[in-house]
Symmetry: C3
Subunit: 461 residues, 3 copies
């Protein structure tokens, strides 16, 4: 079915993509104005030397994308090379492509201006792809993942622009545009690639080993630690500090409740590592869209607790049901970690938005919800958003926009994911056989002393 | 002795605790004044947008608490799920409870004001609990750890307030209030839970495996790397930079000497991983209370070297003796890593304080030792501290206060630990049997391929 | 050949070195002026309280040195204790010694002034030693590594002073002074210690295991993540932001191309972990000397892609050839990760320097290339550099200086490495036997359950 030639062929294609990216970078990007050298006797001095305020936030997110997602996915007993390695490959392609795709919407004079903000945005876009990858983990070739990356980033960037720039929704932690999008895109791809009826069951290599469960905790804990940075990277000042506090509390609440729920629902009345590795993080997702709002400390913990409950129940009951009923595999359970908590977050954001008043939010109301500015006080930048958004919104309207944003995002993600899935299952692309699932040896040279037999021919494409 | 019902019972209790915490947060906390929205035409602008100066420090500490402690405790061959998982659970409960308990002493208008500083304080409080957990590692049920967390945080917060706010001692790195407190609290609990005479020996599962010793190094090295942030988080400017430099040098000195001592005292004249994983960090503890003082680079290295020597000797000779003579188990050797180096730090702080003069410290003398302010120059905030502390102290008096602080802290920790231990060994709480020590399988669903036999009934409570 | 006595002897020597360091610190170092307390009624206030702008950068580099290098070297199946432990020991000695050696060139009033910058410089110097250690990994005793550390840091500091301070070359990411220096120093030592003809082949323990390849990825990914901090730590403002963006893009390009090349050249047409663990990082090295220049985004990606190609080809063809033809072992392949990409970076820096004009660089031209200042506008600090450098250079001249810098650095590294190698193979120092290579058990107490037989006598020196 797959010859050596076609495999190398695939990677020649990847080489071509990388070369095209270089050319696109050459013609359509430049450093942003502020970091280009200045001429004349301008007194740069102080302004020029100020430290990059967002750099620590960026580095925290960078750790989440490359260590967090990468190691979280090492939980499979024989898929750690792919988890860490393909995570690195997919993200490296995604960030380059995201700089271009996201940049299309902010071009100045025919050039995409690059700054630290572009890198933060690119990392966040990569997160959406890695979430989708989690749904498919172990059931695709690397080449399929790379094609998915290219499709998904394009749709992601368009949807993000639609929701944030045009519809002016509040989503500083990306629960709507990143987590819901990534999860449902991935699940739609998974549905498109669904197995035949007799194969719709957990594979023999789909479990963890004692050691792999511990390396997965490296990923979980780094995600847990830096989630406040993820949620607060795009805001400043008091908003940022509130986002940090709320995310911290929500995660703590989700963690405690995850252990409680795990012991209650698990088969042997013991803790289940799957829950600990994933549901503890649901608090970070669920608080994402509301983390800078005045949800107050108790609200933050409560959001986390609800998310933890939903997430553990999802792992215990929903994921197996989706596999057996709908034949949708979800290797990492992204629906439970990202999907449902993101829906929850969107609903909360609608509720909080619909009751937001100047009495409570003071001057920051129109910073947080820019579309609630009165038409009389619009700046030129605001007019940009008027195409779809409409300004002078009431609080209730803003709430309705939040709900429309999550609905539209899920719809776009599903349609995008199904279309991408059709491409991935086209005859041009090699599919993995059932017995090749969740095994590194298919695509990686593995150390000789391993007791897993090595496939004698190359199966990687 | 323990039925399934009673086990779930325990976790219903944890659920209740979490709900009570939400209610307490609801009634008694709010964001601090600065991060609440402002009304009116105040010109927030610049001030409001300035980056959170302490956030990188906070995140470093956050890594220490959740990755550092968590992975350091994975050294046991079959206790890695508990090390990383229970570390996450205990710390998540501890930080919520610490925000409340520490907040009691700074309430404003009936509300505890939350800010980034509260999170830093909560993380540091969690460190004390995790140190105590290290002394008990593998010999308690999760439920016992959680009860200990609740007791310990309450005592910790009271003692911290007593020493720092009332007695005005200098302890920026928390050697006295965190390390000594946590270590002796844990050892006192361990004493209360001491085994019968015939059981007072190292258990069969108490050793490491080749792989677990390497994952433990993840914890060690992250603690080592970020210790300068831990010691310098609560000070600013020149004090902060000195704290960083001194901690860096002390750790380097402790590390070199740890390898020297290890090869000298170990049985086979080789390096011992226990020493490398732990004693290399003793330099960070020993310099804690003096790290912002003018101990000069040579003083910093010297403190580290002395701490390294004491710590390795402690692991080699004292820990076995404590077990055989006093029946005090200390799984992680917290006495050698946290206890004795903290005593050393307190003694150094007394010496340095007692010779501090305005000639040497200039204007910063009364910032570092606020109780050395003259009565004539007291501000209103200072009067707060007069209840116990007394102002206008001489340098010698400050030295005496430093010594009283460590004595009182150790005393409070031991009394608190013994009391907590009595609760933990009460008939209401399930105790682990000797053969259940240091095994994940007691409380965790473990992968089937493991060759450790699974206990047939649930033993986790 | 080696008695117990002589082994302990070696460590007594290390103890003496540490004590000498304390004495040197006592007599010849102090905190820098800015972080010493001030007297009089100076208004410190604001200035004194400003956050340490470089601290997050420092901590990122700190993670690279201690986690990055340490875990990258755990790839060997039975050398993880040494990789993480000796990395910690060697770096702890290196940073102390580097503070002294680098400080010699900036003494003020007979004292080396310590500040955060000294720590950053010390960490970077340690990187050079750890690169050299990578070339030798598993083939030396710890004592040999420590002697090498002492020699190498001294030569490193002199060469760094020569290139950066006297010759005024542009090398903000340290490709020339750190990566090329460290790689060729290490390879020269390796050549000096070369095995007899019949032993010049890969040892039986020189491979990886499935688990060790995954822990090595911890190192790789943390190096990958924080490389932008390494390259941008020594510059400010717009230069810093460009250095971050260029390094980020170069790494992404190198990563994609590494996977492409790996599948093309590897034996089974699959991904090879050696390439993924190392060549993905070559982009960070290759962009080092030019990362703050106006190489534009496409230039950054292109540099990374070229470096990735060269690096993978080096691992596949050059390293085996060097071993069989020249008997130069290179355990970690530092020539492919650090050596050749650094040469590439130097060549690029010469090209970019030789075409740099005021039209393009504006005011920043003479900040980036200080020796291109006109003689009329020299400040006193500049005169310092006139000894060798000469000022008023043309762009072409600066390009020539860049080429002379890399040539001179490689020459100094090779001469220094060969001399050091002669010391290491002197009869006074114990050498490892071939069968002792790449095994922790030679120097470490290892857990009993391991199936590797323990050497019955101590072999560590």
């Amino acid at each position: 079915m797959s010859s050596l030639g076609s495999s190398v062929c695939g990677y020649v294609l990847l080489l071509v993509v990388q070369i095209v990216l270089i050319i696109v970078f050459g013609f359509f990007t430049n450093y942003s104005e502020e970091i280009l050298p200045k001429n004349g006797n301008a007194t740069e001095g102080l302004e020029d030397k100020k430290p990059l305020a967002k750099y620590p936030h960026f580095q925290d997110i960078h750790v989440m994308i490359f260590i967090g997602f990468g190691f979280l996915m090492t939980f499979l007993k024989r898929y750690g090379f792919s988890a860490t390695g393909l995570n690195l490959l997919v993200a490296s392609l995604a960030i380059q492509w995201a700089i271009v795709m996201r940049g299309c919407y902010v071009m100045e004079g025919g050039k995409i201006p690059l700054s630290l903000d572009s890198l933060i945005g690119a990392d966040i876009a990569a997160a959406a792809v890695l979430i989708s990858m989690g749904a498919l983990l172990g059931r695709t070739t690397p080449m399929q993942l790379l094609v998915m990356t290219i499709c998904e980033i394009a749709v992601f960037a368009a949807n993000e622009y639609l929701q944030v720039d045009l519809m002016r929704i509040a989503d500083v932690g990306g629960s709507i545009t990143v987590h819901a999008f990534g999860a449902y895109f991935g699940l739609a791809v998974s549905f498109a690639l669904r197995p035949s009826k007799e194969d719709a069951k957990t594979g023999p290599m789909e479990g963890s080993s004692y050691g792999s469960d511990i390396t997965a905790m490296i990923g979980t804990i780094f995600l847990w630690i830096f989630w406040p940075s993820f949620n607060s990277a795009l805001v400043d000042g008091a908003d940022q500090e509130r986002a940090i506090i709320n995310t911290y509390l929500s995660l703590a609440g989700a963690t405690v409740i995850t252990f409680v729920m795990s012991i209650m629902v698990s088969h042997e009345k013991k803790f289940d590592m799957v829950h600990v590795q994933n549901s503890t993080l649901a608090g970070g997702v669920a608080v994402g869209s509301v983390c800078n709002l005045l949800i107050h400390p108790f609200g933050a913990v409560l959001v986390g607790v609800i998310a933890g409950v939903i997430s553990v129940l999802g792992y215990r009951f929903l994921t197996p049901a989706m596999l057996s009923k709908l034949r949708i595999s979800d290797t990492c359970g992204v629906n439970n970690l990202h999907g449902m908590p993101a829906l929850l977050s969107a609903v909360f954001s609608a509720i909080y938005a619909s009751v937001a008043t100047t009495e409570v939010y003071g001057n920051s109301l129109t910073t947080i919800f820019p579309a609630m500015k009165q038409n009389s006080s619009l700046t030129e930048e605001d007019l940009h958003g008027m195409v779809i958004g409409g300004y002078g919104r009431s609080a209730a309207m803003q709430g309705a926009y939040q709900l429309s944003a999550i609905s539209l995002t899920v719809l776009i993600a599903i349609v995008g994911g199904l279309s991408t899935g059709l491409v991935l299952r086209s005859p041009m692309m090699r599919q993995l056989e059932k017995e090749e699932h969740h095994i590194d040896d298919v695509c990686w040279e593995t150390p000789a002393e391993s007791d897993t037999e090595e496939p004698s021919t190359n199966l990687c494409q």
